[in-house]
Every structure is written in C-alpha cells, then in structure tokens.
C-alpha cells in the first residue's frame, strides 16, 4: 500500500494561483497518517485529487495496492427522512453489524440513534458521518476534518478505536490539532505552501495505540518538529 | 393620419364582422377595396370577428359603430336592454345547414331526421334551429341523439355523427370538397327549405347612431349595400373572388368561387331582389322560436328594433 506523488502541479480552473507546483511525497505503509498544514495550504485539494474529485492536474499522483479510496469531510449530511440509527444500519455492509454497534458505542452515539440528523449537535453529526464510512469497504479513507467539531476526549477515543480495528488500512487524517496528530499518527505529511521548498515534509509521529501519556518529551519534540515544518 | 386632422368632418367608423374575413364578408371587402366607403365620405375600418367577439357589446362600449350580428344575438341583447338596432339584413336564407353523406344517410323529408345522430352546438343557434325543426315535425327528443359539436370534425368524419352543422357557404364547400376527394358524396340538409326561418347575419348599430347621426347611418348602409350588390354581380365575380382571396389566402380560389355562388343565393335570392331587405316576418318567427324555447324570458317585440 502506497501513495506516491511526483511533480504534482495543480491550480483550480480559471484561477491563476497554483495550489501545488511540483509537489513530491510518498506514503508507503498502511497506518493512521496525517495531512497537516495551515489553513488554505491545499489539504482539501490534495485529498480531493486523491479521491478523483478534482482533475486536470499534471504530474503523477498514484496509489499502489489501494483499490478503494473513500473521502469523508465534516460538512456532509445524512438524508432527513429517517433516524440516523436506521440510516447507519441501512448502509452497513453485510457482516459488519457488530462492528457498527461497536463503533456506535465508542463514538458515543447510542443515545442519539433515534434522532434525525438535523437534530444532532455538530460534533454528533461528525461522528455519525464518520461511523458510516468505517463500515464500508475501503483501503484508504481520507478524513478531511471529519472530527473537527468533536471534543478532544471523544476524538482520542475514536482515533484509538479506529487504529485498533483497522490496523491494515490506510488513513489520511486531516486535522488542525498539532498535539493530536503528533501523538496518534504514523507519518505526518506537512504541507508548507507552494512558495516554499520542499513543499511537503514528512515527519514521523508517535503513532500511539493507547492513551498513556508516558513519553511527554518525545511528543513535545514531534510537535515542535511539526510546528517548525509548517 | 394627417388627413384626419385636416378634414375632421369625415366620420371614422369601426365595423365589426361576425367572423373572420371570408366570403360572408364579400360585400364589405369589396366596398373597402373599391373605395365605396370613401366615396360616401366615410372612413371605415372593417375588423374581422371571431368566436369571442360580440359586435353588439362593442357597439355599446363604443369600440365600433356598426357590426354584424346574428338574429338570436340581437334578440337576446334586446331582451337585456341593449340599445341595438338592425339596419339591414344581409342573409335572406340562413346559411347554417347540416352536411351529411348521402351514401350513408338518407334524408328525404325532415321526418327522416328521426333516429339519426345530429350534431348541434349546445347553446349555439344551430341547437335552436334544430330544436325548432324537431318540434315542427313532431320528432320527440328521445327519437334522435344530439351530439355535442366542437370545432373539429372528427366525429363526423369517423361516422359517429350523421349530420353535422356547417355554414353552407363557408366550411360547407370545403368539407364537401374533402369528402369528394375521398370519393364520398356529401349533401346538405337545409332548415330554411324545411320551413324554419331563423334569421342569420344582419347589420346592427345603436339607437344613438340612428337618432343622432341618421345621415351617417344612411350613407354607411347604402355604401355597404352598394358594395354587396357589386360583389354579388356575376360580372364582377372574378374581381370579388380576387379580393376575397387576398383577405382569405387559406382558401383556394376555386373553393372561393363556389362559396361565392352559394353566398349569392342566400344574399340575393333573385336577380331583382334588393340586398339588405329586412324580412320582418322571418324576424318575428325567429323571436317566436326563441321565446318558445325559453331563450328569452318574454317577447321583445323585435319589430321595433328593425
């Protein structure tokens, strides 16, 4: 499993500014990786390019041994005609019912399964949306600020749960929380903007699999590394 | 436009026809094309009519000074207090007749109508005429089937209806021709011949016009009738037909020629006949028929408006 980017150049149609110019990077193992960088640097754009939702780029952006890519983002909505519980049940793949229940519990959704999507708080909406992606068939799941409106404690639980359940899949987690990506992510691809060289730096995260906070110094170092890079 | 302001004494008149330009307006068109109105010192705008046009209402609203209306409209308007006056009667014989295929339907006497499917426009004067006919010949309503007529002829073409009402001098010619081209023979059933005299198109104006501008009315009517006399003169037939075709390009010339001949029979039944003569007894019969059928509440004494 690999994501491979070589001389990627892109700008939005009918605009003059490039989002990427000769961007190179490599993600070569499964795991919970992060896509990081200041607002407006192009994280969403890169994610959408990967998911095939934007086109007309030049250069190579390829995946290997990754056949199903899913892209989720935080402002997605569920249809309003049924409760979220029914929707979740409806879109769950055969044989994943148990997994769905597990996710509902960890994500703190059990009490809200009877509500319509529009009646949920923003963070609840985030979690419901992410949960349904996790019961799909995927190799790479891009989470574009999918947990942006969830509190830190819940987010931590969710990330650890995902890492535990899907050790062999590729995740690309977009978040603005330095501490979080430093602690839980394996590789952190820091986008730095089209004017800097290199445009992207890869940093090794702590890739923690439990919530023990033993190695505070290590974490601090990674965080600094990320902050300096971006 | 400039003439108007310089010679304001020329009366400007609007004349509303009952139907679109066709052979039934031969006299009007002739008078217009040959400057007969102008020669009479009148400026006349002849406006085509249509199903939604009611000359009598326009007279009262001042949109027109003269118009063409059928007798039933006149009588109805009189019964509702409209100040309408009949100035001339153009058709001596009502052109409304029923077409039928002689190879399928045999009508030798009016009594043969019994058992047939008869097309009538419910609410129209053809219904009134047909009911008068049926009453006259003692045919009960249960002995015939009245079929509602609308503007397309499909039920007749498809043989669902035996007799279909047409204006003998207009659609009558056209439909007859169509059937002939298809190898079928069409003939007409004429209520007038069967003794029901129901007056058709007449020239109407308002009481005010007659009282206040009697001289204009005279000039107009005599110009109009001059036009009609000329249009019905066989010597002018080619010219008349040319004029009609200019206004009614959708009808081929040879059909107009036949329409013209039929129209002549209705408007000028004999060579000495003076076009425009009001047939008072026919008007009274018309009124009687309408009263009998309850179309007007009480007699309007139509004679006073003629």
């Amino acid at each position: 499993m690999r994501i491979h980017c070589n001389h990627l150049t892109y700008r939005y149609p009918a605009t003059s500014l490039y989002v990427f110019k000769d961007l190179d990077f490599n993600i070569s193992e499964p795991g919970f990786h992060a896509l990081f960088g200041p607002s407006g640097v192009g994280k969403t754009t890169l994610a959408r390019l990967l998911a095939g939702k934007e086109n007309d780029h030049s250069g190579a952006l390829r995946t290997e041994a990754v056949s199903r890519i899913l892209y989720s983002y935080n402002t997605e909505r569920l249809p309003g005609w049924a409760s979220v519980g029914m929707h979740l049940a409806g879109v769950t793949r055969e044989g994943q019912k148990n997994r769905l229940e597990e996710l509902e519990t960890v994500f703190g959704l059990t009490e809200h399964l009877d509500s319509r999507f529009g009646q949920l708080s923003m963070g609840q909406q985030n979690r419901v949306n992410l949960a349904r992606y996790l019961v799909q068939d995927f190799d790479l799941l891009i989470m574009d600020e999918s947990l942006a409106n969830v509190d830190e404690a819940t987010r931590e639980k969710i990330i650890l749960c995902i890492k535990r359940i899907f050790p062999g899949k590729l995740f690309l987690y977009i978040s603005h929380n330095v501490a979080e990506v430093a602690r839980f992510c394996r590789e952190i691809l820091v986008l730095r903007g089209v004017r800097r060289s290199p445009q992207a730096i890869s940093i090794h995260g702590q890739d923690q699999t439990s919530d023990d906070r033993s190695d505070a110094a290590e974490l601090e170092r990674t965080m600094l590394e990320i902050v300096h890079a971006s | 436009k400039q003439q108007k302001t310089r010679e304001p004494q020329i009366p400007e008149l609007a004349y509303r026809l009952k139907w679109v330009f066709n052979t039934s307006a031969a006299g009007e068109l002739y008078a217009m094309e040959h400057g007969i109105f102008k020669a009479a010192g009148l400026s006349v705008e002849v406006k085509p009519g249509g199903p939604e046009k009611d000359a009598i209402k326009e007279l009262e609203l001042g949109h027109a000074q003269f118009g063409v209306a059928s007798a039933d409209m006149v009588i109805r308007a009189l019964s509702q207090g409209a100040p309408v006056v009949v100035a001339a009667q153009l058709f001596q014989i009502n052109p409304l007749q029923w077409i039928y295929r002689s190879d399928r339907t045999v009508i030798e006497t009016p009594a043969d109508l019994a058992g047939k499917v008869l097309g009538v426009t419910f609410g129209g004067n053809d219904e009134t005429i047909m009911r008068a006919l049926l009453a006259k010949y003692g045919i009960a309503g249960s002995e015939v089937e009245l079929h509602s007529v609308r503007y397309d002829y499909t039920p007749f073409y498809q043989g669902k209806v035996d007799l279909w009402p047409v204006y003998r001098n207009a659609q009558g010619i056209i439909i007859e021709e169509k059937l002939r081209q298809a190898g079928e023979k069409a003939v007409f059933f004429d209520p007038h011949g069967a003794g029901v005299r129901f007056v058709a198109n007449s020239v109407v104006t308002t009481r005010d016009m007659i009282e206040q501008q009697p001289e204009v009315v005279d000039r107009f009517i005599s110009a109009l009738l001059t036009g009609w006399e000329a249009a019905m003169d066989p010597a002018n037939s080619d010219e008349t037909i040319r004029i009609i075709h200019a206004y009614d390009p959708d009808t081929p010339v040879d059909q107009i020629r036949r329409q013209w001949a039929v129209t002549r029979k209705f408007v000028k039944p004999s060579s000495g006949f003076k076009i425009g003569t009001i047939d008072v007894s026919a008007w009274e019969e018309t009124e009687r028929i309408m009263v009998e059928q309850g179309l007007v509440q009480k007699p309007v004494n139509v004679r006073t408006a003629l």
């Binding site: 005609w81 879109v91 | 308007a77 609308r150």
Partner: protein, 254 residues
C-alpha cells in the same frame, strides 16, 4: 385555515365583481354587456344547483388529472434530470409537446383517443403538468452534494435514492408547486371540457358564452373559486402534515 382561504377567495371575488359593476354603472352599460346585480342574482338562483354539481364533477376529474400530472411530471422530471443527451432529449420532447397549444393539439388527441373521458383527462393533465415539470426538473437536476457524496462514493447511488434525496431536501418548494398546480389542474379540466366534453362546469361555461350570458359565467366562476379553494386547502393541509411529520419525528425506536 379553511376559513381564511374562503374569506380570501370571497374578497378577491368581490373585488373583481365590484370592478365590473363599477364599469357597468359608471358607463351605464346595458345588462347585455355587463349584467346587473338582480340578473346575477337570478342567474345564481336558477343555475346554482346545476353549477355546483357541474363544478363537483369537474373537481373530480381535476383531482385525478392532478395526480396524473404529478406522476407524469415526476417521471419526466426524473428522466430529464440528467445533463446527458438522453436527458436533454427528454426535456426537449417535454418542452416541444408543451409548446403546441392545446387548441391545436386537441383535434389530434381526439383522433387518436376518441372523445371519451380519457381525452378530457389527458388535456387536463397536459395543461397542469408542465408547471410541475419545470419545478421538478429544476429540483431533480440539482445535486445536494453534501448528502449525495457518500452514496456516490460508496457506489450506493441509484436514481431512486437520488430523486428521494433531492425531493426531500426541497420538500417545501415541492409542496408549494404541487399545491399551486392544483389550480392549473382545475383550469385544465375546465378548458378540456370547454373544447371537448359534454359535461362539467367548462361545458356549462361554453353554453353560457354562446348565449353571451355573462351573469351565468360569473356564477360559474364563483363556484369554481369556492371549490378550488377547498381543494387547495386540503392539499395545503396534507402538505403541512407531511412537513410536520418530518420536522418532529417521534421518540423511541421500535
């Protein structure tokens, strides 16, 4: 709410009537041009019974025609929602058919379908369906990205789901159009009766017109207005219930 609708109709009707009567008495026109109050009253007395029956008859056909139109517009709207050639072909067909005035098409319909109730219904539906179609087309062809993305991405999207999503997100617009088009259904039926049928209020109007009896037409318009208002009220009430149902779902999952 029903009261309100009826009041409103009465106000509109009375305003219209006053304008007409104002004309009449202002220009002192005869009863033949514009009937006076006594004549209208007499016409009302004489014709009310029949006209109420006729209007109900028409309303019945209109309701069926309305349903057919909604169905037709939904089908065409769904087929025509795509930006593909086929979609635009269907749109073109729908538009082209509509571009032909019913008065010109009616004879063809009679030739093909005879002049039974089917033709009457078809004409009514044709007149009413197009306004529906236009809105449906607009609604069905516009993606609701934030909802549809998931289903597209996971290969779950099918046309039924897509239509359901778009319809649901535009429920209020849809109910507005459906309720409003009820009046078109009524009009369509009346016009169909006017040109073709031998019963219904449209037929009565035609007869009144031939007899240039404006008084009767005014009476007919009165009943048309009353019953249309009633039908609109029913539809609005139903729409309101549906909206309600989805706004405040019941607690407790079975």
């Amino acid at each position: 709410m029903l009261h309100k609708r009826l009041y409103q109709f009465l106000i509109v009707y009375l305003i219209g009537l006053s304008v007409l009567l104002g004309f009449k008495y202002g220009l002192s026109l005869s009863d033949y041009v514009i009937p006076g109050v006594p004549m209208i009253w007499k016409a009302a007395e004489g014709a009310s019974g029949r006209y109420v029956a006729d209007t109900l008859n028409t309303l019945g056909v209109a309701v069926v025609g309305h349903m057919i139109s909604i169905f037709l517009a939904t089908v065409v709207g769904i087929l025509g929602r795509r930006r593909s050639w086929a979609g635009s072909m269907i749109r073109a067909a729908a538009y082209n058919i509509q571009a032909y005035p019913i008065v010109a098409v009616a004879p063809i319909i009679f030739i093909l379908l005879g002049d039974g109730p089917v033709s009457r219904l078809l004409i009514a539906a044709m007149i009413c369906y197009f306004p529906l179609l236009l809105s449906f087309m607009g609604i069905f062809s516009e993606p609701v990205k934030d909802i549809e993305h998931f289903f597209n991405a996971t290969g779950r999207m099918n046309w039924r789901l897509q239509v359901k999503i778009r319809a649901f997100e535009n429920m209020r617009k849809l109910t507005t159009v459906i309720v409003g088009s009820a009046t078109m259904a009524m009009v369509g039926t009346i016009v169909a009766e006017f040109i073709a049928a031998a019963n219904g209020i449209g037929y009565s109007i035609r007869i009144a017109l031939y007899q240039s009896d404006l008084a009767k037409i005014l009476v007919a318009l009165f009943y048309i207005g009353i019953f249309t208002s009633l039908y609109l009220f029913c539809l609005e009430w139903a729409g309101f219930r549906i909206e309600k149902r989805f706004e405040t779902p019941k607690e407790g999952r079975g």
